[in-house]
Subunit: 425 residues, 4 copies
C-alpha cells in the first residue's frame, strides 16, 4: 500500500480547487462530481431535489445570485443540462455501491467553498502550480476540495476490495453555512445506514497524524434579526421616528449579556450588523446576523430562547418590529467508541500514519452532526475522523492548502475502516 | 401701608418652621393652621377627607410612618382630636371669607417641608434665633412656612378691607412630592373660583422684586418601577436566574435615550435606583424611582408613553415582570395676561417693592398647576406670583431662609391684587 | 414687472435638474454655471481652489469617486478643461458685478443635489417634460437647481437696474452634506460684503408666500466614528476578540442618552451604522455615522463634547480604538431685523406675492449660516429669505418639484431687496 | 467506634449556633473556642494579630460595626479580656498538638455565620430545642458551627490516639465573605504543614455519604465599584449633572457582556447595586457590588481585567470617576490523589458511612483554597472532604440544619485519615 495519490484524483482536486462555490451554489462542483461518478460502476446515483428533504433548506440565495453561479458554472465547463437539473441550488450528490450482503456504511464528505480571497503569492502552491481560484473572492480554504476527492477515492478503493455490504458516499453541500446537513440527513437516504464516517483534513494536526474521533462540536444556530421602525428627520422631528438602530444596539448589548450556563460552554456573537440610511434620518431599519452555540444541543437551545426574547423585547422597546430568520443550524454530536476503536486500529496499520489519537476536540461547529445523529438515532454508530496535513496557513485563511499525498492517507484509513466495520458486523 | 409683618404672623411662621413635615404627614402644620383659622371670623372652614377628591391621593405613606408623624405632632403640641380628624394624611385646609356680592377669588399656598437636614451653624438665623427644625432631617427649605403664613395674613387683610366678594385660601399639602395639588383641584372647592392666585417666595429674586406671572412649569410625572425576577446562585446556577438588575440597567440606559421631541423641552431621570441582595446571588428584585417632564402636558405624556414601553420591554427582555406605580404628577400651566397685568400694576404701587417683572420662567415643576388649570378650564383666570427675598442659601439647601419682612410684601401685593380683581370684575 | 421667468433661465434650470451632483462632485453643474457666467458682463469670476479656504473642506470623496463624477460631467457635455480646473472637487463659483460706488451686497445660492432616486411616474413634471435626472439615484430634490438659476437671474436683473454698488453671487457647493459653507465663508471673498442674502425655495410655504427671515437653524456637526478591535473565532476563541460591534452598540445606546440641555433644543442621531464580517467572527471593525445638533452653536458643542467622550469610552471599554472624523458642520445663525424689514417691504410690493411673513422657523440645519456669521462678525447684516412654491412632494422626497414661475418671484424679491439695501446704505 | 457525638460537643455546637457572627466579627465564637481550647492539653494556641498576615485582611467593618459586635459578644458571655485581645476583628484561632516525631498535618475548619434570618417555626430543630440564633438576622445557615465543633472533636480524638506527629487545627474566620483564607494562609503557620484537610458538612450529600475530594471550586473575586459624579436638578439643569447611575447602568450591561472564555467556565454578577438620591436629582453616586469567577485562577483574572476596563470606561463615559475596591478573593484548587485515596479508604471503614464518593464538584467558591494552595506550593498535599448530612433546607436558607450525629462521622473520618497520613509518611 502506498501513499501516492493517483493523478486522476489530483486532477479532480485541482479542478474543484479552481472553482470554489459557496452554499447552494455548488453547481460546477456538483457537475464535475457527477461527471466523475458517472464514469464509475455505481449501483445508484442520486442528486437534485431528491437528496434534500422538503422545506429544510435554509438561507437560499435569491434568484439573481443563483443565476449568477449557474452561469459561472456553465462558463467554466459544467454540463448545462446537469446544472439545469440542480434547479435552485439542489446541489450535492449521493453515490451508492452495493457489494453483496453486509451492512450499509456511509461516508460523508462536504464540498463547498468559502468567501475568502485566495493568496496570489508564488509561495502559495495553488498559485505557483496554476490552480488558484478562478472565482475571485472565493476559495477552498478549508479543504473541502480534498474531501470531495477523498469521497471518489474511497469509492474506487472499496470497489476494488473484498468489501461485503453497501457503501453510500454523501457529497454534502453547504457545510460552511451549516445549511446542507439537515436536508440530506432528513432525505431518507440515511435510513438504512448502519455506520457513518465523516472526515476532515487538517484541523491543526500534522501530516501523518490521524484522530479517530473528533469531538466537542458546539451546537450552533445562526440567525438574522431584521428590525423595522419608522424614519423621521433627526433634526426636525426626532420624536416621530421609531429607531431601529437603537433597538439593534440594545439587543446587541443584551445578547452578549445572556447568562452563562453552568452545564457547559455557551457562545453568542452579533457578527455582522448594520442599519440606517443617513446621519440626519432616524434609522428605519437595522439587522443583526449572529449566532449562538452550546456544548450540547440543549445548551444551544437555551441560548436561542434567551436570544429570541432579547431581540423581540429590544424591538418592542423602541416601537419597532423584528423578523427573526434562521440562517443555519447544527446540533452537537459524539463519536461512538466502537467506531473510534476500529478507525484507531486501522490507522495504526496504515502507511504514512505516524501518530494516532483516539479523541480530540474541535471547538467549532459542523453539520455532519445532523447525519451522525440520524444514524445514531436509528441504532447505528458514527464517528468523525480527522486526517492531519501540514497546512501552511490556518483554516479559513488565504494561504490554507493541503499536502496532496495526505488525501491518499485519508482514503486508505477510511477504506480500511469501512472494510473492518463490514467484516466485524 | 408698611412692610412690618405683625408679630403674631412671625410667631406662626417660626412655629411652623420648627416642625417641617413632608407630604401627607403635615399633621402638626395643619393643626396649627386650624387653631389659627378658628380664631378668625370665617364663613367656612374645610379640612380632612372633604378637601381631597376620592382616589386621587398618590404615594401615601404606610401606617407605621403615618402613626410616627401623628405621634410627633401630638408630642409637639397639636390637638390630638384634630390630628385624629386628619386620619391617614388628609392634611391641609380651606378657609372661606364671604364679603357681599362679587367674584370668588382663590389664593393657593403650600405648607409642606423637605427631607433636608437644616444647618445648625449660628449664622443660620433659625439656629441663632431658636426656631431651627426640631424634626431632625426635615426642613422648611423652600419657604412653605412663609407661604402658609402669607395665607393667614391675606385673610386678615382682606377681612379688614372693603373687598366685595368671596375669598378662598387653599392651604395645600404635599407640593414637594407633587401629590397634593390634584386631590384639592378635584375636590369641588374650586368649582366657583373665578380667579386664582398662587404665590412663591424667593426663586432667586431679591427682596423688593415681584414677578407678576411665573411661567415655564414643566409638566412632570414621577414613577416607581419595580422589577421582579428570580434569584439563583451566581456561581453554581447563573442560568436559573431572571436578572432584575440587568433588566433595570437596560431600562436606565434606554430611558435616557428616549428621543428628544421637537415641540419643546423634555426631561427624564432615573433618580433613585437599586437592586439585588448579595454579590453571589443573581438579583431577584430591582427598582427605579424616576421622573419624566415636558414643557407641555402633552410632551410629558409623550415621555410617559415611551418610558412605560422601555420599562416593560426591559423587564420582558430578562424574563422579569415590572410593576409601574405613579408617585406624583403635575401638569404644565400658564398665567393669564389680565391677572398678570393686575398683579404687576398693584405691585408697582406696593411699599417695599422696588422692581416688578411681568413674566419669568421657573424651569421646574409645581402642582399649583392643577388648581390653575381647573380654574382656567371653567373659564376663570389664574396667575402664579413670585415675591423675591434675599435667601442666603438656594432653595432646597440646608441654609435656605427668608427675610421675614418680605412676607408682608407678599401679603400686600396679593391683598391688593385680590381687591383689584374683585373691583374690576 | 411680470412673473414670467425667461426661457433661457428655464432651460438652465432644467439642464441642471438633469444632472444632480452631490457634494464636491458638482463638476457638471459648475461647468454649466461657468459657461453661463462667461456669457455675462461680469467684473470678476472666481472658481477652483481660490474660493475654498485651505484645509477647510471635509468629507472629500476618494479619487475613484471623484474621477467617476468628472467622467460623467464630461460625458454629459461639460468642458473638459473647466472640469480639470476644478481638480479634486473645488466646485462652485463666485460672480462679481461692480456698478459704481455703493455697498457690497452678497447673495448666496447653493447648487448640489441629493442621493435620492427621482420619481419616474408621468405625473412628475420632470419625467413628463423630459428633464428627469440622468444621474440615476441622484436628484435635485431640494430645489438647488432653482437656487442656482435664481443666482443667474439676479445677476441679470441687477445688471439691468440702477443699482449702485457691488454684487457678489456665491454659488456654493456641498450644502446638503454641510461641507461647502465653511470653505467659502473663510475664503476671503466675503471680507468686503456689507449685507448678505441667502435664499431657499419651498420649505412648505405655498407659491406666492415670502418669508423675509428664516430662523431656527440648528447648529450641527456630523461625524464618523470608526471602531477598531481584533477578530477571533466566535466559537473557538471568543475571549481573544476585541469586539468592535459591542463597543459600537454601547456607544449608540449612550449617545442617545446624552443629557438634555436646559438652554435649548439638542439632537443626536446614529443615522448609519454597521460592523462585523460574519456570524462566526468576533467583529473587528464597526462604524457610526451620526450627528449632533443644538439650538445654538454652544449647545451643539456641548453635544459634541459629550458624544466624543461616549465614543472614546465605549471603544476603550471593549479594548478597541476609535477614529473620530468630522464629516460636516454648520453653526446656528439669526437674520438681522433691518434686512428682514427691507425684504418684507420689497416682497409686499412684488408681483405674484400674496403673503409676506417676517420670520419663520426652519428646524433643520443649513451651512449658509457660516457665510451669514462671517458677514455679521465684521459688522454687516444677513438674512435668509424663503420663497414659497407649491411643491408636490416634500423636500428630500422623490416627487419634489418647484413651480418654475416662482423662480421669477425669488429673482424679483431679491433684486428689489438688493437695490433697496444699496439705496438705503 | 460509635457515631454518638459527646454531649459536651453538642453543647458547644449549640452555643455557637445561638451566636452566629459574620466575617471579622466572630468575637463570641472565637472567645468560646479559646475557652474550650484552653481546657485541653495543647502545645500551642495562637490567636489575634499573630494568625493574620499583615495587610491581607479585606472588607474590614468600620469601627462602629466592630464595637457593636464586641459588645454583643461580651453581653452574650464572652470573656471581655479575650474580646479585647481580638482587637479590630483579628478573629479565629490555631491549635497545635504535638505527639512525637512525624509529619505535620493540618485541619481547616471555618467558623463564621451568615446574614440570614433563621426560621422560627417549631419544626426547625434549633427553634424547637431552644438554640435558634439570638443574633436576629444572622444564622449559622451553612454548618460552620458544626465545623468548629468538628475541629475540637478531632483534637480530642487525636489526643487520645497513637498518632505520631503534629496536628494543627485552623479555626478560620470570614469564609462566607471569602476574606479569612488568605490572611491565615500567609501567616506563616502553614509553613511546616505537610498535608492539609479541609471539611464541609452537607453540600446536598445525605447522612452517611462521604466525598473524599470535593473539587470544582471556581476562583472568585468580589468587588465594590463606587461611581462618583455630580448632582444637578433634573428639571432645571440636567446638563450640569454627571450621572453616576447612567455610568452604573452601562457598566452593568457590559459586565454581563464580557466575552465567554473558551478555556473554561467564567461567571460575572452585579449582585447588589444602587444609586441616586431622589427622582428629581441627577444621581451623584452609585455603586455595584459584584463578583467574577473562573474555573481556574487564570480565567478569574481574565474576568477581573475585563471587568475593571468596563467599570473604568463606564465611569469615564459619563464624566464620573470610579473607586474599585476588592471585597474578597479565593483561588481555585484541586485535591491530591494520594490524600483522596486515604480519606476514601478510611471513610469506607468508618461506622455510619454507607457511601463513599472519590470526587465531586462544588460549583461555588471557597477560600480554603488559599490554605490548600499554600501547602501544595511547598510540596505538600491537600484535600477538601465532604461529609453528608440530611439538611432539611438548602445551604444558605433559613431552614438549614445538620444532623448532629453526622458531626461524629466527620470527626471519625478525619481522625482516621490524619492517623493514616502520619502512619504512611
Amino acid at each position: 500500500m502506498s501513499t501516492d495519490v493517483p493523478d486522476e484524483l489530483v486532477a479532480v482536486r485541482r479542478r474543484l480547487h479552481k472553482r470554489p462555490e459557496p452554499a447552494w451554489r455548488e453547481f460546477y462542483t456538483t457537475a464535475v462530481l457527477l461527471e466523475e461518478l458517472r464514469t464509475r460502476d455505481l449501483d445508484e446515483l442520486h442528486y437534485g431535489r431528491d437528496i434534500h428533504a422538503d422545506g429544510t433548506r435554509m438561507n437560499i440565495p435569491d434568484d439573481e445570485e443563483l443565476e449568477l453561479w449557474r452561469s459561472r458554472a456553465i462558463e467554466a465547463g459544467a454540463d448545462p443540462e446537469t446544472v439545469a437539473e440542480l434547479g435552485d441550488g439542489f446541489t450535492g450528490a449521493i453515490a451508492v455501491l452495493k457489494r453483496g450482503e453486509g451492512p450499509t456504511v456511509g461516508l460523508r464528505v462536504d464540498i463547498d467553498g468559502l468567501p475568502i480571497l485566495e493568496a496570489d503569492e508564488e509561495d502559495h502552491t495553488p498559485t505557483a502550480e496554476g490552480f488558484r481560484s478562478k472565482n475571485e473572492g472565493y476559495m477552498h480554504a478549508c479543504g473541502h476540495d480534498a474531501h470531495a476527492t477523498i469521497g471518489l477515492g474511497v469509492l474506487d478503493a472499496i470497489a476494488d476490495s473484498d468489501f461485503q455490504g453497501t457503501l453510500k458516499v454523501f457529497f454534502q453541500p453547504g457545510e460552511e453555512a451549516i445549511v446542507g446537513g439537515k436536508p440530506m440527513a432528513e432525505s431518507g437516504h440515511l435510513d438504512d445506514v448502519d455506520s457513518l464516517l465523516a472526515v476532515h483534513i487538517g484541523l491543526d494536526h500534522p501530516s501523518g497524524e490521524v484522530v479517530a474521533g473528533i469531538e466537542g462540536f458546539l451546537a450552533v444556530t445562526q440567525f438574522r434579526a431584521t428590525f423595522h421602525g419608522s424614519p423621521a428627520h433627526a433634526g426636525a422631528r426626532p420624536e416621530e421616528g421609531d429607531n431601529a438602530v437603537q433597538a439593534m444596539a440594545t439587543a446587541i448589548s443584551n445578547l452578549y449579556g445572556i447568562a452563562r450556563h453552568a452545564d457547559g460552554e455557551t457562545r453568542v456573537n452579533a457578527g455582522l450588523v448594520g442599519g440606517g440610511t443617513a446621519t440626519n434620518i432616524i434609522p428605519e431599519e437595522a439587522f443583526i446576523e449572529g449566532e449562538v452555540r452550546g456544548e450540547t444541543t440543549e445548551l444551544m437551545e437555551y441560548m436561542v430562547d434567551r436570544a429570541d426574547t432579547v431581540l423581540e423585547s429590544a424591538a418592542e422597546m423602541h416601537n419597532c418590529t423584528v423578523d427573526l430568520e434562521e440562517l443555519g443550524e447544527a446540533p452537537s454530536a459524539v463519536s461512538d467508541d466502537e467506531l473510534i476503536s476500529i478507525v484507531s486500529s486501522v490507522a495504526g496499520e496504515t502507511a504514512g500514519v505516524s501518530s494516532v489519537i483516539d479523541r480530540d476536540t474541535l471547538g467549532g461547529s459542523e453539520d455532519a452532526t445532523y447525519l451522525m445523529q440520524t444514524v445514531q438515532a436509528q441504532g447505528g454508530t458514527a464517528a468523525y475522523v480527522g486526517v492531519g496535513t501540514n497546512h501552511p496557513g490556518g483554516h479559513h485563511t488565504r494561504t490554507f492548502d493541503v499536502v496532496e499525498s495526505d488525501i491518499q492517507i485519508a482514503i486508505d484509513v477510511l477504506t480500511g475502516s469501512i472494510q473492518r466495520v463490514a467484516a466485524e458486523s
